[in-house]
């Protein structure tokens, strides 16, 4: 019975931690996901998946301080796998499910973007991730490295290649 008591407490911890993390990070993470995706309609879903996954492994998380980083990493990973699935689906157009707007989609009314974001979405995924995490997320190189699960050096090179590709459109962009 001791175990179940401990488990129950753990679950309560997880629930209240999720609520706090939601208040602090949800909107930011949805925006991050929207910038990373070519199609922002699933941004909320990806972020919700990340929270659910965190809740599930809450007891195994050694350091609750790392929860925000874990969420960020899951979101980056979630956008990657969503885009992979989309690419597969594109190759099999007959398998495409009907495109029904979800409740979340209608909430995301305004189009995310401008010329810069459009150009960003044409970049290879790693370059886009490095740039978005740095210039939208305001993360340090090491934080980006851990979110993308790559080395600091790789972050640097993805970011600088991405930046070079965006240079022309940035020159002509006006706020």
């Amino acid at each position: 019975m001791e175990d179940s008591t401990r488990d129950a407490e753990g679950a309560q911890d997880a629930d209240s931690a999720i609520t706090e993390l939601y208040a602090a990070h949800y909107a930011g993470l949805v925006r991050l996901a929207a910038l990373l995706m070519r199609d922002e309609s699933v941004a909320e879903e990806i972020v919700q998946d990340a929270f659910v996954a965190l809740h599930r492994r809450w007891r195994r998380l050694k350091d609750p301080q790392k929860a925000a980083g874990y969420l960020r990493t899951s979101v980056v990973h979630g956008t990657r796998s969503m885009q992979r699935r989309r690419q597969v689906a594109k190759r099999h157009p007959q398998d495409l499910p009907p495109d029904e707007p979800s409740a979340e989609q209608t909430a995301l009314t305004a189009e995310v973007g401008n010329a810069v974001v459009d150009a960003l979405r044409e970049l290879p995924a790693r370059q886009r991730e490095a740039l978005v995490l740095r210039y939208y997320g305001g993360l340090s190189e090491s934080e980006i490295a851990s979110a993308m699960k790559i080395s600091n050096g790789a972050v640097k090179s993805h970011a600088s290649r991405g930046m070079a590709a965006l240079r022309p459109v940035l020159e002509s962009w006006r706020r």
């Binding site: 949805v30 910038l35 809740h55 195994r60 796998s81 499910p97 909430a107 010329a115 940035l170 706020r175």
Partner: protein
């Protein structure tokens, strides 16, 4: 913090923030997360998940009842013993005489390679070679069945001990409506009545009662169909179901009539075959110990994995601390192939074994796949 940024960098930052401001998350995000982290309806509730979700008193210890009265042709007992709230403890094997199934018993063979349905490409294993602890049942009896659920949208197998007279029906029902022991496993289906599942002219015919609905991202519709197809084809390959092997196709009917599609997107007008497991199956599957099992020392972990160069990493944890770790080699590389890990003598207690892919891409590739099983070593 950005005093050293160039004007280009500042422009990029401004452009990204301007775009991000256009995104307003919907109002119900937390409610949606809560709904998914709260206790699921009892028929979908994995045995430990109720506890983890804070519902200690409702933990369904008895996931699968051994229904000794079940002699009717359609009588299955793949269901909680009494009611969802009837049991009080979270340890499935505390009362072994009253019916909770030790999941380790679920696999009579203990050898993952004994699921010939797994690979339609390879030669089907002669059913006669299977250990013969499970003869075709005349009356309701306990059967160990390969039941597929999913992890990250990919199918993964759990051996479950089910009592009934009809292995195909029991397995289909356990997969679509049952509960997994492993809390990470989930069904992609909304609960649905399986009217019948039988072999007809070399095809497994599964009849479902409408409504037949997906409980997952619409993009996972194909995987959901494969969850059912893998389950019934693997079951058909068991000696319980004579005369067919695991490579037979599956015809899906809805309300007794042929269906054109499922979930509005998956064509099932023709019988569906198993998709190549490298496309749809989760790459790591620990068969034994089963999640939550009581085992005696020494402990051997066995399963199937498709991993780079056949290398899989493993870690044994106790109370969150790694107490042992190593690398195991599957028999063949890059394809689904058995592995086995000798953990040796372990003192009584609860452990977690995790087997994971070696991340050879050094972080450049997808997140490494892993499987974790919690088990308890009991004193002899």
């Amino acid at each position: 913090m950005n005093e050293r940024w160039s004007s280009e960098e500042e422009k990029l930052q401004a452009a990204l923030h301007a775009a991000a401001q256009n995104v307003s998350p919907g109002p119900d995000g937390l409610a949606r997360i809560r709904r998914r982290t709260a206790e699921s309806p009892w028929w979908r509730n994995p045995v430990f998940y109720g506890v983890a979700a804070g519902v200690a008193t409702a933990a369904a210890a008895v996931v699968i009842a051994v229904n000794t009265l079940g002699t009717g042709a359609d009588d299955l007992s793949v269901s909680p013993a009494d009611s969802p709230t009837s049991s009080q403890t979270s340890v499935p094997s505390q009362e072994p005489t009253t019916g909770p199934v030790d999941p380790t018993d679920a696999d009579p063979t203990r050898d993952p390679d004994d699921d010939p349905g797994d690979d339609p490409e390879s030669e089907p294993i002669d059913p006669a070679e299977e250990p013969d602890e499970t003869e075709p049942p005349a009356t309701a009896e306990r059967m160990a069945l390969p039941v597929y659920f999913t992890v990250d949208g990919q199918v993964n197998r759990e051996w479950q001990s089910v009592t009934g007279t009809d292995p195909l029906l029991a397995a289909a029902d356990a997969s679509l409506n049952g509960t997994s022991f492993d809390p990470r496993y989930e069904s992609l289906w909304s609960p649905v009545e399986v009217i019948s599942a039988e072999v007809v002219d070399g095809v497994i015919e599964v009849d479902l009662r409408s409504p037949v609905e997906l409980d997952a991202d619409p993009e996972l519709a194909d995987e959901a169909v494969q969850q059912l197809v893998y389950t019934v084809t693997a079951t058909a390959a068991m000696p319980l179901v004579p005369e067919v092997d695991g490579a037979v196709p599956v015809r899906i009917l809805v309300d007794g009539a042929p269906a054109d599609d499922l979930f509005g997107s998956v064509d099932v007008s023709e019988p569906v075959t198993r998709a190549d497991q490298i496309d749809v199956r989760y790459l790591i599957d620990i068969d034994s110990p089963a999640y939550g099992a009581d085992v005696s020392s020494p402990v051997t972990v066995s399963g199937v994995a498709a991993v780079f160069e056949g290398n899989a990493l493993w870690e044994l944890r106790r109370d969150g601390e790694v107490v042992d770790s190593g690398i195991t080699q599957t028999e063949e590389a890059f394809t689904f192939s058995p592995f086995s890990i000798e953990l040796g003598d372990l003192e009584p207690g609860t452990y977690e074994i995790t087997v994971m892919e070696d991340d050879v891409s050094d972080g450049e590739g997808p997140e490494p796949r892993f499987e974790t099983k919690e088990f308890t070593v009991v004193a002899p």
